[in-house]
Symmetry: C2
Subunit: 328 residues, 2 copies
């Protein structure tokens, strides 16, 4: 089965849960703004990871279906609020929610999706799932929400901070990106009735592919092309972002090269993107990021070997590789 | 016991739970912005209602303590986001969070408090409370969060809507203000082990005093004085807000008076506040609002008679009256 097939297998049922959650929202403007990015269509990787994790430990897809939908709702909530904070005007090929409805309604749409996410997890009770398991799944999901906020706050703080260590950077992307992916696999494993060892392995798997996902983003920004990226090569440089390439170079470079890179990042323009890439190359930072992303995926797949072989385990292996294969 | 004593009795323990929830938040800017309004000090009416409801049905204060803190966290989250949306620059005598940290950090501070609220309810497990009860309390709290968002969206929509019926208005304030107060009393009653009848009575009590609270606000805006209100008399009129006074007058008034009131509300200035008050008086709208607030409080207190007499029930009776006594 192709990766696209894996993602499509569950997306219709996940979509049904999301629509059920949002169908009662009023007034109309709040419902429409809440549904906007859902309708624009995401890849639904997180819900697939939750469901596959439930199945891979011997559970049923249905037990994790509502929590899978909840994780997608949380992802969407964070996109809406991030777009306001970062003043990003486009998302999923559409104008952002705040562009269409204004900041006030966009804040509320995010808050609504956030509330609905927890409500959706709680609805798992209707599927006859054990209360204790639901509470554990909720704890997992809530914990990732705190981390998403903390990660975004750190990311914003980095913009004013010259020296960001690799450790600080990895801690930030763990919270901002990987924690929710780990919450998807962990809550899926919990609701599927996994053993403690299985739950921990799938949590770590989620964390590792989440980190790889973000690092691969950093890497592709300088090695891919505009058509694949859907944005100009070196956008991260032009925006002055702290990526793993920047962090690695800053730790390895000569005072002169550090100085030059800092100057380029502060310019917030694309005129010196090629020069920044040259500096990254000089210190092997591009290869380094590529290596780290691959290594995380390799470790993630190794963790899955404690699970019995099954189509769901195979699908999780393929999704780990997909993190590296995707072009944007 | 005075009302102030009732509120102070639990506020220290509630504050401890809130501080415990926020003590681990990082980076520093996120923790400080999340704590800002908590430190500025609220009256802590909602937590007191949750705890008293638990006690009034024969439960222990401790069983509802974390959920009481969670309700206060949700209230604070909604204040932070509302202040961004409504561009209110002051809150609790302090500059608003977005004034001090900017909109982006204020959005995140709200999201953090929101996440922490759910985490705090989940921590009730540590107190040995039954899982099923925690899930019911969570359902109650989550449901009120959805309603807060819907109520705020409706309130924003009313600004562009000339005709707002009394029913629409009451539905809006139920969602925006009363639902969380009802969630406080309901979740308290659930966690205190109340019977179905007790839980329903305390839910309705919370809803009624919540409605009375908002309607009394509308009333005080035109009958109190600047010193007591902490803002000029008739601010609601100067801001063009749809209050119960406006809604009642619009339904009862002659076409000419309606026209004039609409014109004044559209001006968004304080120059015709006295004339608007004259129109309200002509149609008995001020007395009407006063009567509705009192009637809601009376009904709320009657509902409490199904509970056994206890100091907590007496305190709930007093808090109902306090809604009308407060001057701002």
């Amino acid at each position: 089965m192709e990766v696209i097939g894996i993602l499509e297998k569950y997306s219709e049922n996940v979509q049904k849960e999301i629509n059920a959650a949002l169908s009662t929202v009023e007034p109309e403007a709040l419902q429409e703004s809440s549904l906007h990015l859902v309708k624009a269509g995401g890849k639904m990787i997180r819900p697939a990871l939750a469901i596959l994790s439930a199945e891979a430990v011997g559970g049923k897809a249905e037990d994790a279906m509502k929590t899978a939908a909840a994780v997608e709702l949380i992802h969407t909530f964070s996109l809406i609020h991030d777009d306001i904070m970062d003043q990003d005007d486009k998302r999923r090929g559409q104008p952002s929610v705040h562009v269409l409805w204004g900041d006030a309604m966009a804040i509320l749409a995010g808050d609504t999706l956030f509330s609905k996410a927890f409500e959706t997890v709680l609805w798992t009770e209707q599927d006859g799932v054990d209360s204790q398991m639901i509470l554990s799944a909720l704890q997992t999901v809530v914990d990732s929400c705190v981390k998403i906020c903390e990660g975004q706050a750190s990311d914003m703080g980095f913009a004013e901070q010259l020296e960001v260590s690799e450790e600080e950077y990895l801690h930030m992307i763990y919270k901002k990106t990987a924690a929710l992916i780990a919450a998807a696999t962990r809550s899926g494993a919990i609701l599927g009735g996994g053993t403690k060892q299985q739950v921990e392995a799938l949590t770590e798997y989620g964390k590792l592919i989440g980190l790889a996902f973000q690092i691969q983003d950093d890497y592709l920004d300088v090695v891919s092309d505009e058509e694949n990226l859907g944005k100009p090569v070196g956008s991260d440089i032009a925006e002055g972002k702290r990526t793993l390439l920047v962090v690695h170079t800053m730790e390895a470079a000569s005072p002169e090269d550090r100085e030059e890179l800092i100057t380029i990042l502060k310019e917030k323009s694309d005129q010196n993107v090629p020069r920044a890439i040259e500096i990254f190359q000089k210190y092997g930072s591009i290869d380094y990021a590529h290596h780290i992303a691959h290594d995380n995926v390799k470790q993630a797949k190794e963790l899955l070997t404690i699970l019995d072989d099954s189509p769901s385990r195979t699908a999780l292996m393929m999704l780990a590789d997909f993190v590296l294969e995707r072009s944007h």
